[in-house]
């Protein structure tokens, strides 16, 4: 069941991290509005294989907006023109017949291109490894209901924990800052009593690693919040700044 949309794509092609890349034009025809954006790429790739051309490499896995793997920069916006969704949740009904769509990878010094639209986001993992956890070995936990947590704090912590680590916040920021991502994890744990004992070392270590990875600084433009598919709030950055100042103050004593 094919559809009736014909589109022109300008897609970033880059053979590997050392090669120079460029935008290449592709025409795609008979696209159905019910297809997802990635399914439209499947159709194009299927054709490229039939023409014996290397298909376009892009990251994806769950295709339902939760794994954080998909990462296309579409017409100047990470995850495309609609708010609050990932690339895999974008459907072709958000475009018009005849549109020209430009698709690029995330661009940031800390996210080098691997191939075409695929980038390396392992910097995020290293930031978490630096402190984005609660140090509790398996088997040491007390009964889960021993420590009541106010519903508001639990809900707020959950809202911050909803970050999928996609990197759209970095991709959209003119400074390529990772503050929204880092502050989401800092906030999630700072809002819970379990996170209390390590809250100072956590924020200091995570921020140090963030800087070491080459992410830029935050100048409060708020583009990250606007482009975040999971609605991670800027208030997390404010909370992290408070935590950071507090921690610095204490560690300087």
């Amino acid at each position: 069941m094919s559809g009736n949309m014909n589109l022109t794509l300008k897609v970033w092609r880059q053979k590997n991290s050392n090669a120079k890349g460029e935008l290449v034009d592709f025409k795609v025809n008979d696209i159905s509005p019910d297809m997802s954006f990635l399914e439209m790429f499947d159709v194009l790739n299927e054709r490229l294989v039939s023409e014996n051309t290397d298909p376009i490499a892009f990251d994806h896995d769950c295709r339902e907006g939760i794994c954080g793997m998909c990462s296309m920069f579409i017409d100047g916006r990470p995850h495309g023109p609609k708010d609050g969704i990932t690339t895999c949740q974008l459907h072709m009904r958000s475009f018009k017949d005849g549109d020209t769509i430009t698709v690029e990878p995330w661009r940031a010094q800390a996210f080098p291109v691997i191939k075409d639209l695929v980038v390396d986001r392992t910097a995020f993992d290293r930031i978490i490894a630096a402190g984005g956890y609660i140090s509790v070995n398996t088997g040491n936990a007390q009964d889960a209901n021993c420590l009541p947590i106010s519903k508001d704090n639990a809900d707020e912590s959950f809202a911050a924990a909803a970050c999928i680590g996609c990197g759209a916040c970095v991709a959209t920021c003119k400074n390529a800052s990772a503050m929204l991502f880092v502050s989401a994890k800092v906030s999630q744990l700072a809002l819970l009593p379990q996170g209390e004992p390590e809250k100072q070392s956590r924020v200091l270590n995570m921020v140090a690693q963030m800087d070491a990875e080459g992410f830029g600084s935050c100048t409060n433009t708020g583009a990250c919040e606007a482009e975040c598919p999971k609605g991670i709030s800027l208030s997390n950055i404010a909370r992290m700044n408070r935590e950071y100042l507090g921690a610095q103050f204490c560690s300087e004593k």
Partner: protein, 659 residues
């Protein structure tokens, strides 16, 4: 006669695990430092095992094919995780969770394993809360619960519709902590392509670096496969695009028996297929059946819109057929009932292959409660609906958004349209009580093993099993093997077995490029999926299964003659990755059909049309089929079946009834 020893400890069911734990041989800390463990997979099972084993002091390497361990498919689990905490004071207990799981699995799981699972279920919740997993809470600050299918208590813990995400991020943070401390070495974007065997034991793996294409050799005193399920053999499923069977299939071909390959779970509530372009199916969590009522029009080929069909012309067929459990019957039962209604001409939507999942009734019920709480008397219908809508949004908001995004329809205004889809595989590598496969030193955890769910998994039990295996079972059971390995020095990867395994993998890769055919990998995958869905899906019969086996063989031959893999081996090449996975699915699919053909009974998710009661329920045959079918690979797609008899000493085996 049988080669299979499940190694279930002797003694009373309730004390088996406790006794085992206090008598299993231990490895002392200085020896642990010299023992290396390879873990393939970073989902709930793999990440939790890696963290727990590294905490104990073992040297651990972890592999995953995604760009980060946090993206393993467990991230997508929505509804919740079971635990026998009895926080609701509604009569839950370890025994009841055990009983529900055995019954839900249609009496095809082991008592010993399932009881252990129930025993550790509570520890999982404690551990996760301590890690900072933000489960849903009540206003008093305590944890909240909901119901899932096949149970009559509220024992499911959840974090909105993102429970898997939150649990995995908890396990991932524990794993990253160990990575940061240097106790775990992580290999992202790596795919394991072979198990390396030395003197009959698993001693490592061959993995391909997916960025450079380079093959690598990794030694381990033991190897853990935590590689998830194989639902993608059907092409369309709720699994992630990359989910695959390669790791378990390679292990199977090296000698690990495959348990109950045909036991597949078809989930009743998924968004229906919308066209040929469809690449995956999206689940609408079972938790929705807490508040959604399933119905179809009583009239065949109904053309009116759902809202225009009056109450008395709706058939709430689950409530009608199964009054005791209603909309919360187990998945296999709900799926078959939906298929039955659609096949009988009552389906809805353009394809007529869908049923309604309707929230209006409970939205209004909640609305009235809210109105009372707020002291609004005589609230009008619109106010009630709006108040109720807020309650529904809080519980399932992200699922409603997801539905709207995919279908373009607003489920607050009109009922969802849903249809069953492939979701989970109960089958997997056969393991004993220690979670060891029939290959010494090779373990399987999580969805990759066959163990705890029998012929049908209850909702919210996979997350429980994955974390039980990783956090609380393997740290003990691996000791019984590794305690005998302490004198084995790490084997250099220049060993001939590593060289031979790498050469084999290289040959397999070269073979793909040498075919130089005309059709893409997806082309073959879609055709395989169609055969499997039609003939080895929700309903199976002898004729269809025999045909399927022939068709799969023919398709496999065509694949090896006409496949085209573009690009090169020594680069980032998703087409090559897919080719390897589909080649394995093409073999596994045949074994699934064989197993289904062999099992002349209906049980759980395995429904053989020849074996049904007059009311159309599954007709189990306990005299002849109360066993696990464990298949041994005999070369060239020949398989031999071994039986592990299932003995029920604590549960009286009965016909499963949800009426």
């Amino acid at each position: 006669m049988s080669k299979l020893d499940a190694k279930i400890p002797e003694g009373q069911l309730e004390t088996k695990w406790t006794k085992y734990k206090s008598s299993v041989p231990l490895v002392n800390p200085s020896n642990k430092r010299n023992l290396e463990i390879v873990i393939v997979g970073s989902g709930l099972a793999g990440a939790s095992a890696a963290a727990a084993l590294a905490e104990l002091g073992y040297k651990v390497k972890v592999f995953c094919f995604q760009d980060s361990p946090r993206r393993a498919h467990s991230i997508a689990a929505q509804g919740g995780i079971n635990a026998a905490k009895n926080y609701q004071n509604d009569g839950d207990s370890i025994y009841r969770l055990f009983y529900d799981t055995i019954k839900g699995g249609d009496y095809r799981a082991r008592e010993g394993n399932v009881h252990r699972l129930s025993e550790v279920s509570g520890n999982i919740i404690d551990q996760c809360v301590a890690q900072g997993v933000p489960f849903a809470r009540e206003y008093g600050g305590l944890l909240s619960n909901r119901s899932f299918g096949g149970t009559q208590v509220q024992r499911t813990f959840y974090a909105a519709g993102q429970t898997g995400q939150q649990l995995l991020l908890g396990a991932y943070s524990a794993l990253e902590r160990q990575i940061g401390m240097g106790a775990v070495e992580m290999f992202n974007r790596h795919e394991m392509l072979e198990v390396v065997m030395i003197d009959g034991k698993a001693r490592g793996i061959i993995a391909r670096d997916l960025i450079t294409g380079k093959l690598e050799r990794h030694f381990g005193h033991a190897v853990l496969l935590c590689t998830g399920g194989y639902g993608n053999v059907f092409y369309l499923s709720t699994n992630a695009m990359g989910s695959n069977a390669t790791a378990v299939w390679k292990a199977h071909k090296q000698g690990a028996f495959f348990g109950n390959p045909c036991f597949t779970q078809i989930h009743p509530t998924c968004i229906p297929v919308s066209g040929d372009h469809q690449s995956k199916l999206t689940l609408m969590s079972e938790s929705l059946r807490n508040d959604g009522r399933i119905w179809v029009p009583k009239k065949k080929d109904e053309t009116r819109k759902a809202v225009d069909i009056p109450e008395e012309e709706r058939d709430y067929y689950l409530e009608r057929r199964y009054p005791a459990f209603g909309n919360l019957v187990p998945r296999d039962v709900a799926s078959r009932a939906a298929k039955e209604r659609c096949d009988a001409g009552h389906g809805v939507g353009t394809s007529r292959m869908a049923v309604y999942l309707d929230f209006t009734f409970n939205m209004d019920r909640y609305g009235k409660i809210e109105a009372t709480k707020k002291g609004i008397h005589n609230a009008d219908a619109a106010t009630i609906r709006a108040l109720g809508k807020d309650v529904i949004t809080e519980k399932y908001g992200n699922l409603f958004d997801m539905y709207k995004q995919i279908t373009g329809e607003d489920p607050y205004q009109m009922p969802m349209r849903i249809y069953p889809a492939v979701h989970y595989t109960m089958g997997g590598l056969w393991v004993d009580y220690n979670l060891m496969t029939t290959i010494p030193g090779l373990y399987a955890l999580g969805e990759a093993n066959f163990s705890d769910h029998g012929a049908n998994r209850l909702g919210a039990s996979a997350l429980m099993q994955g974390l039980a295996d990783g956090y609380f079972v393997i740290p003990y059971t691996i000791g019984s093997y590794l305690s005998k390995e302490i004198s084995v020095k790490s084997i250099p990867t220049s060993h001939e077995a590593f060289v031979a395994a790498e050469n084999k993998v290289q040959n397999d890769i070269d073979k793909f490029f040498n075919i130089k055919g005309t059709k893409s990998v997806d082309h073959f995958h879609k055709r395989l999926g169609k055969i499997m869905w039609e003939k080895c899906g929700m309903a199976r019969n002898e004729k269809g299964l025999k045909e399927a086996i022939e068709e799969i063989r023919a398709l496999r031959a065509e694949f090896w003659k006409d496949l085209r893999v573009t690009g090169e081996a020594n680069e980032f090449n998703p087409e090559l990755e897919k080719a390897g996975r589909v080649a394995d699915f093409l073999e596994l699919g045949e074994l699934m059909c064989k197993d289904a053909l062999n099992r002349n009974e209906s049980c759980g998710g395995h429904f053989r049309e020849e074996y049904q009661t007059e009311e159309g329920e599954a007709n189990r045959d306990d005299d002849n089929f109360a066993f696990v079918a464990a298949w041994e690979y005999k070369g060239d797609n020949n398989f031999e079946m071994h039986k592990e008899e299932l003995k029920y000493e604590n549960i009286k085996i009965a016909q499963r009834s949800y009426k």
